[in-house]
């Protein structure tokens, strides 16, 4: 598995009307190398910021984030070839009108020839069992189908790490179960933030984030109990 390192990472953002920046995250010191890692915490706790650091969508104000030794700031393109990112709302992510077109978009850098790209996209969609939906408008797909299509689009380039930001938030129970099965079957390293404690328990390691700090790091069942306790449950 790849190794993700966060060394003394802090993320600050400017505060309008104030000289003091607002701290979103940190300081964080982590080394992640397990295949399944879940991140849980309340809304606004810093989960998304932590995830976005991993493929360079957010840059640390201080410290370094490295994926297999590659710095997410200085070597961003190389990092993003290895780290795919899936957003909560698949419609934010599917930028083409159909799933096939979106998968082809992902493959543009890998396959220059249109016919090769199309064949590769069809293979990816078949692998995900989405070939029957590939030419439907992404607006006509169900929430679960869209989420799987978005996953297919980001996994088309065979990344080593898949980062998912609350992937089950918009899904019903049945689609959440399908998503869990698909994620479990993936050979990639998966790092996901979630409010679904069942999904969090599928991991090998769980981080609990609170007020921008990792307040617990350990086995999922213990971490979930800790999170519930901290949430007043």
């Amino acid at each position: 598995m790849p190794t993700i390192e966060l060394r003394d990472v802090v993320v600050d953002v400017p505060t309008p009307g104030s000289d003091t920046p607002r701290r979103l995250l940190g300081p964080v010191e982590l080394t992640l190398s397990e295949q399944r890692i879940s991140v849980i915490g309340a809304n606004g706790s810093g989960k998304s910021t932590l995830l976005r650091l991993v493929n360079g969508l957010v840059q640390p104000s201080r410290g370094h984030v490295r994926v297999d030794g590659l710095d997410t700031v200085r070597q961003g393109p190389a990092v993003r070839q290895r780290v795919a990112f899936a957003f909560t709302d698949p419609l934010s992510q599917l930028v083409m009108p159909t799933g096939r077109e979106d998968v082809e978009l992902s493959l543009r850098r890998r396959h220059r020839r249109a016919d090769e790209r199309r064949a590769a996209a069809e293979a990816v969609l078949a692998r995900f069992g989405l070939d029957g939906l590939s030419d439907q408008s992404v607006y006509d797909l169900s929430g679960g189908e869209r989420q799987l299509m978005a996953l297919a689009a980001v996994l088309a380039t065979d990344p080593e790490v898949l980062v998912l930001d609350e992937p089950s938030t918009l899904l019903d129970l049945r689609n959440t179960r399908v998503l869990r099965e698909r994620l479990t079957a993936l050979p990639q390293m998966v790092v996901l933030a979630t409010h679904d404690l069942g999904l969090a328990r599928d991991a090998d390691r769980t981080l609990v984030v609170e007020a921008g700090r990792v307040v617990f790091d350990g086995p999922p069942s213990v971490a979930v109990d800790e999170y519930v306790r901290r949430s007043g449950g």
Partner: protein, 232 residues
């Protein structure tokens, strides 16, 4: 109308002769329709041009429903334009102008309806290749595709905001219409940019993937965004 439907960004799969025509030929035909509208000698030649374009639409198998759907948003504008031209010029001139605009509009819809986004990106990338010293052709191609996708989205956002304003009795208040659309559009642009950046589609195709150590941090090559306060 669902987002993504309409004149732009709504490719309809097919195997018609129009679908199979090279994109360059479609662009030349579209240009020819545009030029022809300026040369129309009378209103009935405008009718002929419109009939030709509608015939091409039918030949492409795009369907009457799509034709009516795409015409619906522009019809009120054309009616006002016709009335103004009739008042300021004459009815024949007004008819010629409106028929010409309608023909161009439908012809553009035929091009977007029969050209897949991938083919469109490929064509734009090919056209931008001579400028690769200054521009990344791939980025230009993706930008054009995203533009086509965004136009119906913004049009639909306007429709939704108008409905919301009407429900609050504010349909005559321009601020209640324009501001939310601008905010929606900025949010949409940010989300789209972030989605493209996350997939590395804004990264340079070739060249140094590993910048030298000590390079400037914020906004440097490969830096897709600055911190924007993404909550957890």
């Amino acid at each position: 109308m669902s987002r993504g439907d309409g004149l732009f960004g709504s490719y309809v799969q097919g195997t018609s002769v129009v679908h199979r025509a090279p994109l360059a030929a479609k662009f030349v035909a579209l240009l020819a329709v545009g030029v022809a509208t300026t040369l129309l000698p009378s209103w009935w030649t405008g009718c002929l041009l419109l009939a030709l374009v509608v015939g091409t639409h039918a030949l492409a198998g795009l369907g009457l429903g799509r034709l009516l759907r795409t015409m619906r948003p522009v019809l009120p504008v054309l009616v006002v334009l016709f009335a103004f031209q009739w008042w300021s010029q004459d009815a024949a001139m007004a008819a010629r102008l409106v028929l010409g605009i309608l023909a161009c509009y439908i012809a553009a819809g035929v091009v977007t309806g029969t050209t897949s986004p991938s083919a469109l990106i490929d064509a734009v990338v090919g056209a931008a290749r001579p400028l690769r010293r200054w521009l990344d052709p791939e980025a230009v191609g993706i930008a054009v595709a995203v533009m086509f996708r965004s136009i119906p989205w913004i049009a639909d956002a306007f429709g939704e905001v108008r409905e919301a304003a009407r429900a609050r009795g504010l349909e005559r208040n321009p601020r209640a219409l324009v501001l939310p659309v601008v905010i929606h559009t900025v949010g949409y642009a940010r989300a789209t940019g972030e989605a493209l950046a996350a997939r590395g589609l804004g990264d340079p195709v070739e060249g140094p993937q590993d910048a030298p150590a000590g390079g400037s941090r914020p906004g440097g090559p490969g830096a897709p965004s600055t911190n924007d306060g993404a909550p957890g």
